[in-house]
Symmetry: C2
Subunit: 316 residues, 2 copies
């Protein structure tokens, strides 16, 4: 399928693997790119030199295009950007920050920049800053999220009508039927996160992967809204946050409760009770651990089967 | 388009107009049914004898099938049910309560019962209670909503895989592209609420309709979670609730703040500042007031155009 997204990144399928912290290392990114999608290395949980190593390993594993996800909220994006430019990365997805700050530098070096947004307003800012694409990430997505809580169903059309650059949908998408839904709403591609957490190549702890497979409806919640809203799997840490919030705890108390390194503890070290487990609502639909290549194949097969089903509808 | 939903209700299009309080009277319901959808009279804001009048007027206005929405949380559903049976209503959509209590009585009288759910668990209960259809209503929908906050994108597939009866999607659907998305996710029809608030036939106050047309992204929020979660348009009343909640107000204080008759005051009497305005996130996408018949026609036209677009995609 050729469209603006596949042409922009020179990929076979308009399917992007989200650059998730503690999960999207070189193994996952290169496997997705090798399978015809766009793999992204999640630099948000990497020291600069670790990022360099992941980039080099991904290059060794595939000649297909891949990119790096760069959260702009961390104190020092510059050293990551230096590595990205030194290593000749051509595709960067930025998120959680102002795209106007770093996009011009990146594009001046020939990098194609996409930005993840939770509103049409931010999408317009990204377009104005020189981004080539926006990812419209709905309320149901895992990890950090917008305060307006706009869902994928409403966000994609809102973003679509606000910008000229292509829109990729994220949040709630684990299979080909959801991909068809996203494209019907106006997206030209999908970004898939949670589904790839439950992949063989994901670098997170196997216990976290198992928790994703075990998750049922209602097992995630947008949390820590006074700090920075984040969708978490419910566990002991989440219950502590909930308890503090129900006592009207302030920002300081919540920040102290969160502490440092809790995401690593949960997702990378597999502490399912006291770690922070960032995951999407769609985890309730995922029941099997698969290699990234099979995830891609199944997703594409379900998408084309859905298309044939639509073609078969008798409509007068 | 013929499928289980159109056959169940003997309608032309699998499009159901939500039976919204203070908004869905006989004029709206009969106009939607006359245009080939399924109109629902919203009995939740009607005294029994008012409901009888609306049913009789709808019967006089159309020979097409229409139904009644019946919220099961109000103190006295029995008198409404008596009217429904006396007037020979054949289709009832129940919501916000236990479907096991009243479904057997209704089906024993030959009524087809559908139930609105916010989770797969409730959908299974509805199926077990004898309902013929479930409406899977996502977090983005207006009015009362589930505590699990599952969005349409995630809820529809979750419900679909849990029941055998047909699933209708609600929440975030105002046009034909969203209808295609809902059907791709596994729904066999859509329930449309917010779009019909901005219709000529809606019985709510014109000022409320104008507020829906004026709404932008982020202008609604799921609120009053300690009582019963409800998606509201942000206004002075909402700000008061937010302020009370930020002070950790208890149920009693919130119930007192809500008081009685606030929904009527907002939606029916047009008090945009101190009334309760129940509306969906998709209000941000709606910009024109139209007759219900034109809403139906435009929705169907957009849906079939989207289908042709999908058929035209070059996929190898």
């Amino acid at each position: 399928m050729q469209n603006r997204v596949t042409r922009l990144f020179q990929i076979k399928y308009p399917i992007i693997q989200a650059g998730m912290v503690w999960t999207a290392g070189w193994r996952l990114a290169s496997a997705v790119s090798q399978a015809g999608g766009l793999g992204l290395i999640g630099s948000g949980s990497m020291y600069p030199e670790i990022l360099r190593e992941h980039i080099r390993r991904a290059k060794a594993a595939t000649t297909a295009p891949f990119g790096v996800n760069l959260p702009l909220v961390y104190p020092d994006p510059e050293s990551h950007i230096r590595i990205i430019l030194e290593e000749g990365i051509r595709i960067v997805f930025t998120s959680a920050g102002n795209p106007a700050t770093w996009t011009p530098l990146l594009t001046a070096h020939g990098v194609t920049v996409a930005h993840v947004v939770s509103s049409a307003r931010f999408a317009q800012k990204a377009e104005a800053a020189g981004c080539s694409l926006v990812v419209a990430e709905g309320f149901e997505a895992g990890g950090h999220n917008g305060r307006e809580e706009t869902t994928t169903f409403c966000l994609v059309p809102l973003v679509k009508r606000s910008v000229k650059i292509p829109v990729v949908a994220a949040g709630g998408i684990s299979g080909g039927r959801a991909m068809m839904a996203a494209l019907a709403l106006g997206a030209e591609g999908v970004q898939v996160g949670t589904r790839f957490v439950a992949s063989e190549e994901a670098s997170c702890d196997p216990r976290f992967k198992q928790a994703v497979l075990d998750a049922s409806e209602g097992d995630t919640q947008l949390s820590l809204k006074k700090l920075m809203p984040v969708r978490l799997m419910k566990n002991r840490f989440y219950e502590k946050v909930l308890d503090a919030e129900s006592r009207c705890a302030g920002k300081e108390e919540l920040a102290q409760l969160l502490g440092k390194g809790r995401a690593k503890r949960g997702m990378f070290e597999g502490d399912l009770q006291d770690g922070e487990l960032e995951i999407g609502q769609v985890s309730a639909l995922i029941t099997d651990l698969k290699p990234a290549r099979i995830i891609m194949e199944d997703l594409w097969q379900e998408f084309t089967a859905m298309r044939r089903e639509i073609e078969g509808w008798e409509i007068r």
